[in-house]
Symmetry: C2
Subunit: 208 residues, 2 copies
């Protein structure tokens, strides 16, 4: 399969409350050839969570064996000591089958993915303004005031780090933001770097 | 004016007969905020050509003074000893007024533009196949068989060099090719590199 028929690896990051989950859900609904990456974790399944659908649930030993084997695109250990990571095999299998894979991870994870997989497309979803982000965080009523404050402070760090991302999409109107991501994917498919096989083939048949 | 409101510099290249002129005409018709760059040349005006519209007509002395002053984004001297070049001032003025500028030049010129202006977006228009390109060259009946053969040989060199371009758009169906160029422009407007001012402004108002 020539390279331009391979799926893309799309990293979508953004502060809590910016609407990246809604954008990703819209992308999955509109494009049959897109998949959400399934993360591996050592935390216990919550009621209703299915292994291989919501997460790949792993023991700490199994997770650490995968780390040692280089089986992750990126992984992190969070403050409660649970591991979270993106298994390479799932992502690469989907891409080789021509499907694009979305990774919804934080900016640090995104930068780690870029290091191990430079072809990844990194998109940061930004709010129109920080005051609008705060309003959305308060409006969704899922966090305590302390949690809101912590997420809001983290948001500043995320924006600061996102300057090294490939693209920024402002989520003001949802449909516009989704279209922007779609346009970025179409443009990325046209990159010469992803179409060397086509260009080689074009000049290869010089006897024409 | 923040950087994302500036126009883009778009270099459109491709072999003779690939349809780049048609694509550019469609872009200009659809987008009021796009302009075609006007080249400077030392060749004599042909009947009907207007100075400042079709070309900026210059004497050899005037052209060489502009070279010495660094007034060109790129220039070349062709086999008949006439100079052709892209004056910087026209392009930069339009971009600063928020308009995107299209440069229809060959791949060598495009690479020269990229060196002096790394923000330029380089798009190569490719035929679906070289045999289809040859059919189009023959079909337009504007060249002698010898000219067709020479242009066809040049086309191979152009495709070879285009591997270092940013994007390749295959001109199979005109409307699809025009849309691809539009998507590339939209995606480029979302590049983090072009939106540092917005990202700075977002975190700058931390007291919110």
């Amino acid at each position: 399969m020539s390279r331009n028929q391979m799926g893309l690896l799309l990293v979508v990051s953004g502060p809590a409350g910016v609407g990246k989950g809604t954008i990703n859900a819209a992308l999955l609904e509109r494009h049959e050839d897109m998949r959400m990456s399934v993360s591996a974790t050592t935390r216990a399944p919550r009621p209703g969570e299915i292994d291989g659908v919501h997460y790949f649930f792993k023991t700490e030993e199994a997770f650490e064996r995968m780390i040692a084997a280089g089986d992750f695109l990126e992984y992190t250990r969070v403050f409660d000591m649970n591991y979270y990571g993106t298994p390479k095999s799932f992502v690469l299998d989907e891409m080789e089958a021509g499907r694009s894979v979305i990774l919804e991870i934080d900016v640090e994870g995104g930068m780690n993915v870029k290091r191990s997989f430079p072809d990844a497309v990194l998109i940061f979803i930004a709010p129109p303004s920080m005051s609008q982000l705060k309003e959305r965080l308060i409006g969704r009523r899922t966090e305590t005031p302390e949690q809101i404050e912590r997420r809001f402070q983290t948001a500043f760090l995320e924006v600061e780090r996102a300057k090294a991302y490939d693209y920024v999409v402002i989520n003001n109107v949802l449909d516009v933001a989704v279209s922007r991501v779609e346009q970025i994917l179409q443009a990325e498919r046209c990159r010469c770097l992803r179409n060397q096989a086509f260009l080689n083939q074009l000049t290869g048949g010089k006897q024409l």
